[in-house]
């Protein structure tokens, strides 16, 4: 009988990754939920009566909620894998993962799945806490499979990107550059707070080069059945990034890039 693709090394590392963030859940789950709630309170209060989205078919607060949920999912998925890896590299405890017979695929999957679990936990928390703002009926996705597919793919992409960033970074400063100059601008300029149809033509075109735009737009389609671009096109773009980034991350781990000398 051949060995399973993901063996006990994966199970242990995946569980460790989940337990790691769960032990500091106040910092890793509760705090981002509260921060996202503040965004919702401020933006919905200021813009609800001033901004029309999807030709007025959806209220601004309802529109904002999926964007904020997805933003929380993406940022926390990235934070989990990147911080876990850079911490273990800086403290040199990465040796405990490099010494055992864990395959590159197992290491990759454990970090990415751990990141997805944290991202989705925070997203779930944000989603539940928004019920009082729009009512449970309005908060439930009309097409939950689309919403789930984009949440899963989006968190996988950002978990993988966090893994790449964690491997590439040699100090916390490098990771901060990655986070503040790449992830944060791409997230904020992806249509979390607005529909790209409200932008001038140039910025609308530019938004189509932002992969996070497709994650959020596709996720929003799951809620309202309305989106700025076709959900199939968004899914194709997202799937491409899942595959491309996974190949890059796997090659980095397998070659021992910045992990083994």
């Amino acid at each position: 009988m051949s060995a399973p693709i993901l063996g006990p090394g994966f199970n242990a590392l995946f569980y460790k990754e989940c337990l790691r963030f769960w032990k500091v859940a106040f910092q890793t789950i509760v705090a981002p939920v509260v921060t996202t709630l503040l965004y919702l309170l401020i933006f919905s209060h200021v813009l609800e009566s001033n901004v029309k989205v999807y030709d007025g078919r959806v209220s601004y607060t309802s529109f904002l909620i999926p964007g904020l949920v997805m933003m929380a999912v993406l940022q926390n998925a990235f934070a989990n894998s990147s911080s876990s890896l850079i911490q273990s590299k800086m403290m040199r405890s990465i040796i405990f993962i490099l010494l055992p017979p864990i395959t590159s695929l197992e290491i990759f999957c454990a970090y990415v799945f751990g990141a997805m679990v944290r991202g989705l936990c925070v997203g779930l928390g944000v989603w539940l806490i928004t019920f009082p703002f729009v009512g449970a009926a309005a908060a439930v996705p009309q097409q939950p499979l689309w919403a789930l597919a984009f949440a899963a793919c989006g968190s996988a992409i950002m978990g993988t990107l966090g893994l790449i960033a964690g491997i590439w970074s040699e100090k916390f400063d490098h990771l901060a550059v990655f986070q503040n100059f790449i992830i944060m601008p791409l997230t904020f300029l992806s249509g979390v707070f607005y529909s790209i149809h409200s932008l001038p033509a140039f910025w609308q075109s530019l938004s189509h080069f932002n992969p996070i735009f497709y994650m959020i737009d596709g996720f929003r389609y799951g809620f309202f059945g309305i989106a700025d671009v076709s959900p199939w096109r968004s899914l194709a773009v997202v799937a491409f990034f899942v595959i491309a980034l996974s190949i890059i991350a796997m090659r980095m781990i397998a070659s021992g890039y910045k992990l083994r000398q």
């Binding site: 006990p8 569980y15 273990s88 083994r260 000398q261």
Partner: protein, 307 residues
């Protein structure tokens, strides 16, 4: 004598080279450690010991040559090679999120040990950590963290155990407990490879010794043979002068005494007779026997001169 046998070597290093920018860390190193040996890897700082261990553990890739653990190549057959190896790293590293027991459980499960708790309890007992099992790693002293590292290396019961400076920072009593435990494991058939700065530990524990300097093996022999090579004795004599016939063989010591290296106690009698005949009063006499430290210093200083 190198106890080569037909059994698969516990560790086989074949013509391994490794360079870092501006440093040749290992230069065509070959060595074979048999199963069940208690083997010492000695050398000054920067000799290449940790690089060699890292290559065995798969943490570093050799530029050329091969290394194998229990017959499994560390690159081509890395999973089986790593299953057969436990490493206590030199650096005091730990994951601050977890307790001692969690740390050991995770390490056991990385290796696929299905029910590790009974063995973990035994390890904790032998390393005197039972009372700390549920404490967070951050709260442990340096010596305790070092012992957890030893536990992590043993948790999957590997046939080959590499201990890179395992007793650094561990107090004397616990060091003795640790060695008793390691000796027991060796007695049960585990191969132990040890690097240490405490040469008396290597002398007392190890059957065979390799000495590294500047990335090359300068001595590889049984501990007994190395000591036999140093079978002479050293004598320090405090006196106003030294007999003329012995002057070429004397060396001035920092303490003002004269130092002599003799082939054995028979020659000591001749030396003392020369002092008597020359009517030179001896104020103080100190004898030193052969030990691994002298062998180590002799071999490493010799190659330094040769270089």
């Amino acid at each position: 004598m190198n106890p080569v046998s037909n059994k698969t070597a516990a560790v086989n290093v074949d013509d391994v080279c490794k360079s870092y920018p501006n440093v040749r860390a290992l230069n065509h190193v070959s060595l074979r450690v048999e199963q069940g040996e208690f083997f010492a890897l000695l050398g000054p700082n920067g000799a290449g010991k940790t690089t060699l261990i890292s290559i065995l553990a798969g943490l570093t890739r050799a530029d050329s040559g091969h290394a194998a653990i229990m017959g499994h190549d560390t690159i081509a057959d890395y999973r089986d090679a790593r299953k057969n190896l436990g490493v206590v790293p030199q650096e005091l590293v730990y994951d601050p999120f977890f307790s001692v027991r969690e740390t050991l459980r995770f390490q056991a499960r990385y290796y696929g040990v299905p029910k590790p708790d009974a063995w973990i309890d035994e390890i904790l007992h032998n390393l005197d950590l039972t009372g700390k099992a549920n404490e967070n790693m951050r709260s442990l002293s340096g010596g305790m963290k070092r012992r957890v590292l030893v536990g992590q290396a043993l948790v999957h019961k590997p046939p080959v155990i590499v201990l890179d400076e395992p007793t650094a920072g561990v107090d004397v009593e616990l060091r003795q407990n640790l060695w008793t435990f390691i000796k027991r494991l060796n007695g049960e058939g585990h191969t132990i490879i040890l690097t240490t700065h405490y040469l008396e530990e290597a002398e007392a524990l190890c059957n065979r010794v390799a000495m590294l300097k500047n990335g090359e093996i300068v001595a590889l022999d049984t501990t007994a043979n190395l000591l036999r090579g140093m079978s002479g004795i050293t004598v320090q004599i405090s006196a106003d002068t030294t007999p003329v016939s012995w002057a070429p063989r004397s060396s001035a010591q920092a303490s003002g005494a004269f130092g002599f290296t003799l082939s054995g106690y028979a020659e000591l009698e001749s030396l003392l007779a020369a002092f008597r005949e020359a009517n030179i009063a001896i104020r103080e006499l100190k004898l030193g026997e052969a030990d691994l430290e002298r062998a180590f210093l002799k071999l490493t200083s010799h190659t330094a001169v040769a270089a």
